[in-house]
């Protein structure tokens, strides 16, 4: 498959935290969701890709694109607090070859951003939209977004998801976005990159990721079956756990259901250790 971004054996060591030889691809024309618990290394990875954090050159391959071809939305904008929305556009323009003033104005209007408002006076949602307007105004081939939907209300989240789908609709552009609001991903993401504790646990299509596991529940469980469960939890009236879909036949007596991305994260987090040898 054609890729827009390839990350290969990305390592970064901090005193208390380490990215352990991370590898994954962002396929061209699709939305990739980057998920994992807080502190798993999502932002560090994204910053490494963007060159904000120093890593070995060979670890990040932009597949023929330039760093200017990436549109970026971070947790908090890099723009000075005192800039107005209009000034931000004007100040960013010289840095991008493909900057399109009318495109920027179009998005500013579409997002109901007040041109005279200062960055510091914008709400969290408005700050995301301001960055998004900038990211979409220089003919980017890849959007990298760090938690773009956190802190947004459901209406704004839906808007952001719409924009991302619109962005990839010609099949030429790609999106990589980290989030812990997995409901957004559940629908629009084509690929999932799942990181836990600085290690990639899964990288591939979302459908396969969700198909891979099932949730089981019952009253009691045989001891010889427990090694096949992930993140088992006992409660007053029974237990619940996750299993590999491949093991379904072993659990024929239990109620078996599909799992959501959220549940996968929770079960694997509860079990951490078992997940690593998959």
């Amino acid at each position: 498959m054609n890729n827009t971004l390839e990350v290969k054996n990305l390592c970064k060591k901090y005193p208390a935290f380490e990215l352990k030889s991370i590898s994954f691809d962002v396929p061209k024309g699709y939305i990739s969701g980057f998920i994992g618990p807080n502190g798993a290394g999502k932002t560090t990875t994204l910053k490494s890709i963007l060159g904000i954090i120093n890593v070995e050159d060979s670890a990040v391959n932009l597949c023929g694109n330039n760093i200017c071809d990436i549109g970026v939305v971070m947790d908090t904008p890099f723009y000075p607090d005192e800039w107005t929305v209009a000034e931000t556009g004007a100040a960013l323009a010289p840095f991008y070859i493909g900057w399109n003033v009318s495109e920027y104005n179009k998005y500013v209007e579409k997002f109901n951003l007040d041109k005279k408002k200062k960055v510091k006076d914008l709400s969290r949602g408005m700050k995301v939209k301001l960055q998004l307007a900038a990211a979409l105004s220089h003919n980017a081939k890849l959007l990298i977004l760090d938690e773009p939907t956190s802190g947004l209300d459901p209406v704004a989240r839906e808007e952001v998801c719409d924009i991302l789908q619109e962005f990839i609709s010609d099949g030429e552009k790609s999106v990589l976005f980290s989030t812990h609001i997995t409901a957004d991903l559940e629908k629009i993401a084509d690929f999932i990159v799942f990181i836990v504790n600085g290690e990639i646990i899964y990288s591939g299509t979302k459908d396969r990721f969700v198909e891979k596991y099932r949730r089981i529940a019952g009253q009691t469980i045989d001891e010889n079956l427990t090694p096949h469960t992930i993140g088992r939890r006992k409660h007053g009236t029974g237990f619940e756990a996750m299993i590999n879909s491949a093991d379904m036949a072993k659990f024929s007596g239990f109620s078996i259901e599909p799992v959501s991305i959220d549940e996968i994260i929770i079960f694997i987090n509860r079990e951490s250790g078992v997940a690593n040898n998959e």
Partner: protein, 126 residues
């Protein structure tokens, strides 16, 4: 053609799309040579992933209901009467199986099942 997705049915989204397009083809709502919406267009409309939509289309293609032309999209193949019949038959079977299950659970006898079925068929004039 309308496609309505349910988040609660437990049935995978690509399966839901496939079944609904299939129904539209078998009912004649989609005729031979009709174009299906583009994969990316439909994904955007339904707010679901491109891959999920593409999977529904490739399943339909594998079942011989549609064909895709590179760069143009998917169009409906001539309706295969035998296939439509087979599809209907498997739905009948499915329905009867769940009727039998319910009968077993409720202690309904064989005779009572036949009786009910005959009555229902008479009402429908089948």
């Amino acid at each position: 053609m309308k496609i309505i997705l349910s988040n609660r049915s437990g049935e995978p989204l690509y399966e839901q799309i496939k079944e609904q397009i299939k129904d539209a083809i078998f009912s004649g709502e989609l005729a031979q040579d009709d174009m299906l919406p583009s994969v990316r267009g439909l994904a955007k409309d339904l707010k679901i992933s491109v891959i999920t939509t593409a999977r529904a289309y490739s399943d339909l293609e594998a079942e011989g209901l549609v064909a895709s032309v590179q760069g143009k999209g998917c169009y409906v193949l001539p309706r295969n009467k035998e296939l439509a019949r087979e599809n209907a038959l498997s739905k009948v079977e499915e329905g009867l199986c769940s009727a039998i299950d319910a009968a077993k659970q409720g202690g309904i006898t064989r005779e009572e099942i036949f009786e009910t079925l005959t009555l229902l068929l008479k009402e429908e004039k089948l």
